[in-house]
């Protein structure tokens, strides 16, 4: 492997890892703060990708600037969607056992997949890379790297920094952290915890939807894409330590590297490498790399 190839694989690993982090961060937030095991989280990613595909014609003709206006519209829709979803389906799950949550969110996966099939169909679709980012730059005489993949990494990094800022530096972040430690105490201090949870949930949904939309030009749009992402995101969350955003970032990057280089160096074992990694890490540290504090 020459240097340019190595560099390309590194960039790919980074991009994949950061994308995983986006989806996994919502999952770990919802679990760490609200205590809900949300199997339907992968569906939000799928919904995002399909939105990028299905909204493009309508939104593009109304607002112009196709891809970016679709991103904006999709983001607004997903926040509303997440807010309503929490209200209707999740708000009564907090008191229930984890396994009841698993059952409920499993039902939601089935419903989302079928609604997708009814509304958009079962075909595999491609989403065009926006012309602004369609170029690529040369790494060596023959090898090039697409600008769009760098854009994905950039968006993910910006969001990760944004989340870090909100959590550690703002009043809202403080209330969310407090709410995850002791729900009743926060409530008795006069903070509307129900509203707070709804906001966190909507934010988690929006981030997953955004990840799906941003990834769609690279990964294409296909049925069942949510499920494969869901399992790998659970791996990320568990390796990182449940509820830890920092852990999710580290674990997502680790998995990005192992998966990308595994496919290059050990193609026959690529699928299983990630699980071997998880098993080894959990046997070494049974609570994940960063225990949520």
């Amino acid at each position: 492997m020459d240097f340019a190839t190595f560099l390309i694989q590194c960039l790919n690993a980074l991009q994949y890892g950061l994308l995983l982090f986006l989806v996994a961060s919502g999952l770990t937030l919802i679990f760490g703060i609200m205590g809900v095991i949300n199997l339907a989280h992968g569906s939000f990613y799928m919904i995002g990708a399909y939105m990028a595909y299905a909204l493009a014609p309508a939104v593009g003709s109304t607002f112009g600037g196709a891809f970016f206006s679709v991103l904006a519209v999709g983001l607004v829709l997903s926040v509303v969607f997440g807010y309503v979803l929490e209200w209707v389906f999740y708000s009564y799950l907090y008191e229930r056992e984890h396994l009841q949550q698993v059952l409920m969110t499993y039902g939601l996966i089935l419903v989302f997949e079928e609604l997708r099939s009814l509304l958009v169909g079962d075909d595999v679709h491609g989403v065009a890379v926006p012309p602004l980012l369609a170029g690529s730059f040369a790494l060596s005489d023959v090898q090039q790297y697409p600008v769009y993949r760098l854009f994905i990494s950039g968006v993910c990094l910006a969001l990760a920094l944004g989340m870090y800022f909100v959590f550690t530096r703002t009043r809202l972040g403080m209330m969310i952290r407090a709410g995850s430690t002791n729900r009743e105490m926060v409530q008795s201090l006069g903070i509307d915890i129900k509203f707070l949870y709804r906001v966190v949930f909507a934010a988690g949904v929006a981030i997953a939807v955004l990840a799906g939309m941003v990834a769609s030009p690279v990964s294409s749009v296909y049925p069942g894409m949510g499920n494969s992402v869901l399992i790998i995101c659970f791996v990320v969350v568990v390796i990182g330590g449940i509820g830890s955003i920092r852990g999710a970032l580290a674990a997502a990057l680790l998995i990005g590297i192992v998966d990308t280089f595994g496919k290059v160096l050990l193609p026959q074992a690529a699928g299983v490498l990630v699980y071997v990694l998880m098993a080894l890490i959990l046997l070494w540290k049974p609570d994940g790399l960063f225990k949520a504090g």
Binding site: L103, V235, I242, A269, V272, V276, L283, P286
Partner: protein, 334 residues
């Protein structure tokens, strides 16, 4: 005590109904119920872990699949193997894998345990899927079904129905007795409060490992029956979708009761059949996931104790004793 007797009566009635069912069912019905009974054995194996011991395993399909693959791989090309060694071999191999997985993954707890068991199941999946050992995506066929005695031909659907029913009854009674034994009580203690169990002098790890291995063995039995029934195995038997489905079955039925696994397996499979039926839904039957998903969501909203809890909920409603509702099931009864 009265309630206890009604539970035993319920289970006995179910088995009598299953025994009489072939008298009035057609070929399709017998095939379907045979499949469901195998699923019920699979669900019972997981119920021992989840309801009996408080360990949520998300890799149960691996043991099922290993049992199924062993049955096919060890059968001679053109000859019938004897059930008397093929079945023990399948069960033993599944149990051995469970022993290895359990020995490692029982170091972790809670959601971490769920994910480690998933990881080991995925490893088994990839071994079957990607190595020459498993025959790849297409799976392998079992050419000749194993023989029992000359008079018992497992190739006949009715005979195989009876064979499966017998195993379901054996597994159910075995687990019911086991959970009432000292061993089962220790498992229940671990589920409720493991720390206290350790404080009273129980070394909990061997108990959990024994339960895990036993559960793997029973799942392996289910896998063996499945392979013999269809004469075909493929890697999807080991996929996490299967592990998820069996977990959904026991949650739907109601965790903490052996009959919950039985009811859950039947409810889940029959709901699938119902929503898939083109006679009822016509062209919409293609979208059967929608109906199944909505039913599951409604059942979570209305039945917090699972299907098993329905009579209790009705009683509460009739007698207006809302206080009983909060009561969590602590005892594990058949």
């Amino acid at each position: 005590m009265k309630e206890d007797r009604s539970k035993v009566l319920f289970v006995a009635l179910v088995f009598v109904a299953l025994a009489l069912y072939p008298l009035l069912a057609g070929k399709y019905g017998i095939d379907l119920v045979t499949k469901i009974m195998i699923l019920a054995i699979f669900a019972l194996s997981l119920e021992l872990l989840v309801g009996g011991t408080g360990l949520v395993c998300f890799g149960q399909a691996a043991f099922f699949g290993i049992g199924a693959y062993t049955a096919v791989k060890l059968s001679p090309e053109a000859d019938a193997a004897s059930v008397f060694w093929l079945l023990p071999a399948s069960v033993l191999l599944a149990a051995l894998y469970a022993l290895a997985v359990g020995a490692l993954s029982l170091r972790t707890k809670g959601v971490y345990f769920i994910m480690v068991t998933l990881a080991f199941a995925q490893m088994a999946y990839y071994v079957v899927h990607d190595t020459p050992l498993g025959g790849g995506t297409d799976g392998i066929y079992l050419n000749v079904k194993p023989s029992v005695f000359a008079a018992v031909d497992l190739d006949k659907p009715l005979v195989f129905y009876a064979f499966t029913l017998a195993w379901l009854a054996i597994v159910f009674v075995f687990l019911a007795v086991l959970l009432r034994s000292r061993f089962g009580r220790a498992l229940a203690g671990i589920r409720v409060n493991e720390q206290r169990m350790r404080a009273t002098g129980f070394s909990t790890y061997p108990y959990k490992l024994a339960a895990f291995t036993l559960s793997g063995a029973i799942a392996g039995l289910g896998g063996f029956l499945f392979a013999v029934k269809d004469g075909f195995v493929n890697p999807e038997l080991l996929s996490w979708h299967e592990s998820g489905a069996v977990l959904i079955m026991i949650i739907l039925g109601g965790i903490g009761h052996l009959r919950g696994a039985l009811i859950g397996a039947f409810a889940f499979a029959l709901l699938q059949e119902f929503f898939k039926s083109e006679a009822i839904f016509g062209a919409f039957a293609k979208h059967w996931h929608l109906g199944l998903g909505l039913t599951i969501i409604v059942s979570v909203a209305l039945l917090p104790r699972g299907l098993v809890g329905v009579p209790g909920q009705l009683r509460d409603r009739l007698m207006g004793r809302a206080s009983r509702r909060a009561e969590a099931p602590v005892e594990l009864e058949p």
